[in-house]
Subunit: 385 residues, 2 copies
């Protein structure tokens, strides 16, 4: 009776090894570590610490906001440390003799390559808005639906505010919120901390209670034109199936399954990186469906002199545009350059009202997007009942 | 503007390589593969196919229901194949020169070691009860709560049936359903397919609509006594904190946040492997809280002559026991031996009514537990309104 279980345990212990090194001083286990694992760790200087058991490897590195060599101890474990990192969430992976692998001691998150490891650098005041507080908590629901466009079942994640559970007569506005390239519908709900950001802003009265829908943007793999494909056309096509899925399948399903306010005045869309691109390319041609949009570090690739021409010239008529849209948010990290500032300035020159936000000290990373969400949410649905 | 994005894409393509080999004939991509990945694959004989890019490795194996050598091609990719596998879900990992790593092309699941890769062997008729069908779909909700026992925030997953969204006056019975060792609260909702099993059984009228709560059983690491620790005592303590967390924190929170029927007649508990052990050790001493229990491949470690003595001899008085409990389900795979049959027989000899179920051709694996759940659910809450 006990034989197969004991065999299983022995196998696991063999695989995971048994590190002898004592813990580095002044470090704590990252919240991304799996249950009772001791790594990855972070210290007060925001340096991250990693370990890996690979007795036969000749060269082990860790890639976490840069590539850092790891040192081998006599017991077969390799140890590595980064330089000080920005606060927040950072993907990492090991390179074992050049092969990129995830860490078996970390939880995994969709991004970077496949399911990636990650470390979270905590900080008190910065983090409070995205940490659980003693306030009413909303739920994040996994919802299965059939896509008539793809002819298969899909699932999306839906944040509902705490009061949704008891206010059976009330209907809510909806934000459609998209992830970036190589990520999926779990991004905002895990590394994005979307539920805590909403819970805290709703509790403090800084944003209206709303439903937030996060779906798979069909851009979960690195963009790469196929052999013989026109690169520009390939880029236009990459993730472009998401727009018809959203319009045909997701929005009608959400308006059917949830107590929504289903007019354009109560519907917003936002996204990060490739999801920002999808937001612009969904909302502008379908302005009758949305009244707010947010681009977080958006991957736009629009030449400045073409801005007034895209999507039937909708950005050329600023008076009409400004009447249609109640918020046009453009966010970026100060340490990245996806052209957000230039885009915002070009829009302003055309007379298009927009809100530009720069996250200090952050690059193309999740702290930028947590902050963008926090800045964007208060702009939404002010005329809500 | 484009430089950092293009750099990122180049890095990803370097990491993931670019396999040249054509696809093995008569194979399909496993549903566990990440978006647009081509591996892992399965064929009609239920063999699984894997690949890994590791040009400098000397020896690569894949562990998937056994260990299989992989062969290196000239382009640096390794390819491997299993023998025919049982239908259903199987964890796997690679061994690169002895180092166990997950596959970056597969989704990851909590189990085996840390976040593991997995392959799903499909089959038509077997799979229909755990596949999405054209029936009303329930939701799986992620719920955050504060544990007074652990003094920290935790989260659980809660299945609510489709009708929960609209039957605002109705209250529902609750099943608490636990995962096994090395797993977490996501197990039943991902590899367990709990929502589809419930959706389909509810739609066909084979089980009552109910709420299912899945939480982290605090046994997410291989059990191993610490140096100097008594092994028996260590085993008793392993995962034992879950019982007070369930009784003090989780059940009151669920009864507060959801429309439950909160008496013992409408509360059940079940679990697989270590979760089966936790079920027995929670329900028997707290029989005033539960009226149904299910043990799926439970890791009990109870000597036959001690059965009548455990938990104040509750199993010695069969008349009283049979009046208290309306279902005592004991399930196992035919290809494993955790002593389920012996336990069921010993209970029957004591006069304790129980339902024994054997899953044909399966071992200590998720198809056993999907089937156990399907057999167990129809026994629950028959007197429901």
């Amino acid at each position: 009776m006990k034989k197969s279980l004991i065999f299983g345990i022995s196998l696991l212990l063999t695989i995971t090894g048994n590190a002898q090194q004592s813990m580095p001083a002044h470090t704590i286990v990252s919240e991304t570590a799996l249950f009772e694992r001791e790594y990855p760790r972070v210290d007060e200087q925001h340096q991250a610490y990693f370990r890996l058991y690979a007795p036969k490897a000749e060269d082990v590195k860790v890639n976490c906001c840069g590539t850092f060599a790891m040192q081998k101890e006599s017991d077969g474990w390799w140890y590595g440390r980064t330089t000080p990192l920005p606060v927040g969430f950072h993907f990492y992976h090991f390179l074992i003799d050049g092969v990129a692998v995830a860490d078996t001691e970390s939880n995994t998150y969709c991004g970077s390559f496949g399911r990636s490891s990650a470390v979270e650098v905590p900080e008190g005041p910065e983090g409070n808005y995205y940490r659980p507080q003693n306030v009413p908590h909303g739920q994040v629901r996994s919802v299965v639906y059939y896509s008539t466009f793809e002819e298969k079942y899909r699932r999306c994640l839906v944040y509902t505010p705490a009061e949704y559970e008891t206010s059976f007569q009330k209907r809510y506005p909806v934000l459609y919120l998209q992830h970036g390239m190589c990520e999926d519908e779990t991004g905002w709900a895990t590394q994005g901390k979307v539920n805590f950001i909403l819970d805290n802003l709703i509790a403090s009265g800084d944003c209206n209670p709303m439903i937030v829908v996060m779906d798979n943007g069909n851009c979960g793999i690195p963009f790469k034109p196929k052999p013989g494909e026109n690169p520009e056309e390939a880029r236009e096509a990459f993730g472009a199936t998401f727009t018809p899925i959203l319009l045909r399948d997701i929005i009608p399903m959400i308006d059917r399954e949830f107590r929504t306010l289903s007019d354009r005045e109560h519907r917003a869309m936002a996204g990060l990186s490739w999801g920002g691109r999808q937001t612009l390319n969904t909302v502008l041609p379908h302005w009758d469906k949305f009244a707010y949009l947010g681009l977080f570090s958006a991957a736009l690739f629009i030449k400045e002199d073409e801005i007034s021409k895209i999507h039937n010239g909708i950005l050329a008529d600023s008076d009409a545009f400004n009447k249609k849209f109640h918020a046009f948010f453009i966010g970026t990290g100060s340490e990245e350059n996806f052209g957000a500032k230039q885009f915002s300035d070009a829009l302003s020159e055309l007379g298009i009202k927009n809100t530009f936000y720069e996250s200090k000290g952050t690059a193309h990373e999740w702290l930028t997007w947590r902050r963008c969400l926090k800045e964007f949410l208060p702009l939404l649905f002010d005329e809500c009942p």
